[in-house]
Symmetry: C2
Subunit: 205 residues, 2 copies
């Protein structure tokens, strides 16, 4: 029997470059894990395939799933639902495949509630001091605007405490490599390999 | 203030190739951590330097340290003591440097008692099934010899449960790379970076 896969959740503040890093990871290590396919109620566009680009569902079906607690997380965006189907994630994990989820910080917190055993990685701006001075020194902004942006950045950074790892997005290549190494190292944890060794030991005794 | 370094303990069954893997790690990533320097009561040989090859001490000094609980672990070997001085390890860690210790399984367990916060990595034979048949199929050995070797191998493998990570020594290069990645990933844990982020957040608020 294969060990269960890992749920990898990549998140971080808006604008930090999650999508770019996720793409680099899949370009370089695509065969190592499955990307989590979202479910949506928006219309299928030409060329999009069910179960590959999205799981396409009606609004009624989606709301039924919400009622049944069948989504790891979901959100509404311009009148359509988007979410992560729990069944699909569980099935893939049961097959021993890792599932990779790239998601906003609020969604990640919801996932953490449902699957605390996941590996939660916070992608952080490369230089926090620079982030700060960038927010403050945009000459043209009103004080109110500066304060609002600073407040949002701080609120998002505070969520780091709910994550397992923090990776600075200094370069996309570096960040992708580090995230891939985190996943590899997690697989090397003794707690994930004890059963295999216990079986061998039993055979040898 | 720099965060405290990590104590990395590489161990594993006798003959698994710990020394070779440790050498590969230091050849490739030597500037990333300090190798733990042992203390010994054996005579200094020509060319050996105090504090580089060993800390050389008299038997009385060494036994004084044992009495003061000043060693992470120690053992006697052909009439001489060998051990890991606790002070040196703590000082290096306090300077923010990682300390790398390569050691037999029994010694590693003693280190774990004194420094449970260390990262304990078990280097495992590449193929346990092969290990088993290698032990059994050495044509010339007596049944008793086979049994004794099998027993020792099993006893050593059972100690895996006291470690954090298990790395198969399939190739020296692979094993060295994985161990280096484990150390890097451990440094990316949020718990080791919270203070830095808390400071930035405080400044921004």
């Amino acid at each position: 029997m294969k060990d269960r896969g890992l749920l990898i959740v990549l998140s971080g503040p808006s604008g930090v470059g999650k999508g770019t890093v996720r793409k680099a990871i899949f370009d370089n290590y695509s065969n190592e894990f499955d990307y989590s396919i979202s479910m949506t109620t928006r219309k299928r566009r030409e060329g999009e395939k069910e179960g590959i680009d999205y799981f396409f569902r009606t609004k009624e079906e989606f709301e039924q799933l919400i009622a049944e607690d069948g989504l790891l997380e979901y959100a509404e965006y311009v009148g359509n639902y988007y979410g992560t189907p729990l069944d699909y994630v569980n099935q893939t994990l049961d097959e021993g495949r890792d599932v990779f989820l790239e998601i906003e910080v609020q969604g990640a917190l919801k996932v953490r509630e449902k699957m605390p055993e996941g590996i939660f990685i916070f992608l952080s701006p490369p230089d926090l001091d620079e982030l700060k001075s960038r927010i403050v020194n945009r000459g043209t902004d009103s004080d109110e605007m500066i304060e609002r942006r600073m407040h949002k950045a701080v609120e998002e950074l505070k969520l780091i405490q709910y994550y397992d790892y923090v990776v600075e997005n200094d370069t996309v290549k570096n960040a992708a490599r580090k995230i891939r190494n985190i996943i590899e190292s997690e697989h090397l944890k003794v707690t994930r390999n004890l059963r295999e060794y216990a079986e061998i030991i039993e055979e040898m005794e």
